[in-house]
């Protein structure tokens, strides 16, 4: 079997084409958002919101509302509760995050277990890439496109918010509003990525690509290109490998992203561990020669 056949064979199945489409869309969207999350220091917030949307999605299913609406409501609820617990008790933010998102997530688990429905817990927790219906795909495309568009059009404001929110305030902008919009987009993104890799692994797609790109460049503009490119590549590799190895698709996608991160962490020209070690050794040698 040559390379072309290797790549073409899975595309003969509709479910594989849909799986690839959803993976690439979710990977790109998460990767773009992750650039800001990593720089603001909101990685844990990404984890929290992506878990906390679960009860929202289930309740939306029960009352027949759009998933995105339920996710948004619970995404914001989680952020508000985290802020509330942090500000009105002696607990620090990490503890507040840990309490709020696990509680909301558990509420979602309980809701699923008592709701007679077609919702499959396993699919929500671990994703259901191979079972994506045409309707699912359309929801991912529309939600993903809207979220992506807002992120790109307002990227300068988000970046200023991440870098210097006091300056944003000094210019008469409303930094709290910018932050709230970004968290709303995080909730929407979680719904999209949920389809692909499930609640648990969404956080990986929200952190790894941005972190990888950050180790490669000193320019935020380049980060916004490198991060989604890496994530899409990892997504495609993950889906193909899972097809041929008959392994968990969501798991394989995140594993690919993790593998790419490791390579960059070790071999990045400027920030990589290897380059760093070499630089230290060279400096020492120079010192010895000088001395």
């Amino acid at each position: 079997m040559n390379l072309f056949e290797l790549l073409a064979e899975p595309l003969g199945y509709t479910f594989m084409v849909r799986a690839l489409a959803v993976t690439v869309i979710a990977a790109i969207l998460c990767a773009v958002l992750s650039c800001w999350l990593v720089l603001i220091g909101w990685s844990l917030m990404g984890d929290a919101v992506s878990h906390a949307v679960l009860p929202g999605v289930v309740l939306a299913y029960i009352v027949g509302a759009p998933f995105a609406l339920g996710a948004l409501v619970f995404g914001f609820l989680a952020v508000a509760l985290i802020g509330g617990v942090r500000d009105t008790s002696r607990l620090k933010e990490d503890a507040a995050i840990g309490i709020v998102f696990t509680t909301l997530f558990s509420f979602g688990l309980v809701l699923i277990s008592v709701t007679p429905s077609h919702l499959d817990l396993n699919h929500i927790i671990f994703g259901n890439l191979l079972g994506v219906s045409a309707a699912d795909l359309w929801q991912v495309i529309i939600l993903g496109a809207v979220t992506f568009l807002i992120l790109i059009l307002k990227r300068k404001d988000f970046t200023l918010y991440a870098f210097d929110s006091t300056h944003a305030h000094a210019l008469g902008m409303n930094p709290r509003m910018i932050g709230a919009v970004l968290l709303g987009l995080l909730a929407m993104t979680s719904v999209v990525a949920l389809q692909a890799v499930g609640v648990i692994l969404v956080v990986a797609m929200l952190i790894i690509p941005g972190a990888s790109a950050y180790l490669l460049t000193n320019s935020f503009g380049k980060m916004l290109v490198i991060s989604p490119a890496l994530a899409a590549l990892a997504g495609i590799i993950g889906v193909y490998v899972s097809y041929y190895l008959d392994a968990s698709t969501g798991g394989m996608v995140v594993l690919s992203q993790g593998a790419i991160f490791v390579l960059i962490y070790l071999f990045s020209p400027r920030q990589g561990l290897v380059a760093h070690r070499f630089a230290v050794r060279r400096r020492r040698k120079n010192l010895q020669h000088a001395g």
Partner: protein, 246 residues
């Protein structure tokens, strides 16, 4: 002529902690004013009050004769942050930082036009950072970093500049450059308020000094305000002889 900054009887509490006690300061247009006081004397709180980040319990704040929000929206207030408040690893170049000063002049997507690019290049030239403009912001020296943020205020065309500890971690040469620059800003009608520990630099730079200890102890000519007996009121000792330890 309206004052650049007019804070009258501002009192600010953080919880039960009194941070500002009926503080009143006036800053005229075209002048440089140094804000002197210990850590915890309310310097930062006063800055935040002027910027509208903190609302005083009592008293009033006028900036350019209007409320702080209006003043901010008109782009009048430029701000140079403290070293500690900046993420120096952020993937942003010096030129991009200066460009953020132009955001108030831009539309919904903050797409820079020709005038914005020109303003940025001119501001970079004035602070002598044209050569370093493409560097990542953390790759500058202490003094260059401060100048980059001053350039942002210039590009913004802010007529009021607030600088929080602009001389911290800055070498003597950069200090002289920044001093000259701020004097130019003031001579062209801009107003500059700086908080500083560097009392030696003040007489050359500032037209006025304010001694702050939650309340305004004194406002007047720097030579007069920085007399040892006055500093003793604010610091409990004479910091001019103690250098950085004070």
């Amino acid at each position: 002529m309206t004052l650049a900054i007019d804070v009258a009887n501002a009192t600010v509490h953080y919880g039960s902690l009194l941070a500002l006690d009926k503080a009143s300061i006036q800053l005229e247009r075209g002048s440089v004013c140094g804000l002197v006081g210990m850590n915890g004397s309310g310097k930062s709180t006063l800055f935040k009050t002027i910027m509208g980040l903190v609302k005083p319990d009592t008293g009033s704040v006028l900036v350019n004769g209007t409320n702080p929000l209006q003043a901010r929206k008109s782009g009048a207030i430029g701000y140079v942050p403290q070293n500690e408040a900046v993420d120096w690893d952020f993937p942003i170049s010096v030129r991009e930082v200066v460009m953020t000063g132009r955001y108030g002049h831009m539309g919904f997507t903050r797409r820079p036009r020709k005038a914005d690019h020109e303003a940025v290049e001119q501001a970079l030239a004035r602070v002598e950072l044209t050569e370093q403009a493409s560097r990542q912001i953390g790759q500058l020296s202490g003094g260059q970093k401060k100048r980059a943020f001053v350039a942002r205020c210039i590009a913004q065309e802010a007529n009021i500049m607030l600088l929080d500890e602009p001389f911290a971690g800055v070498d003597k040469r950069s200090e002289a450059t920044i001093t000259k620059l701020l004097r130019e800003v003031a001579d062209q009608g801009g107003s500059v308020l700086i908080s500083t520990h560097d009392l030696h630099a003040l007489p050359n730079l500032a037209d006025q000094a304010i001694l702050l200890m939650r309340k305004v102890l004194m406002q007047g000519d720097p030579q007069l305000v920085l007399q040892p007996e006055n500093l003793a009121m604010a610091f409990g000792l004479d910091p001019m002889n103690r250098g950085e330890d004070a």
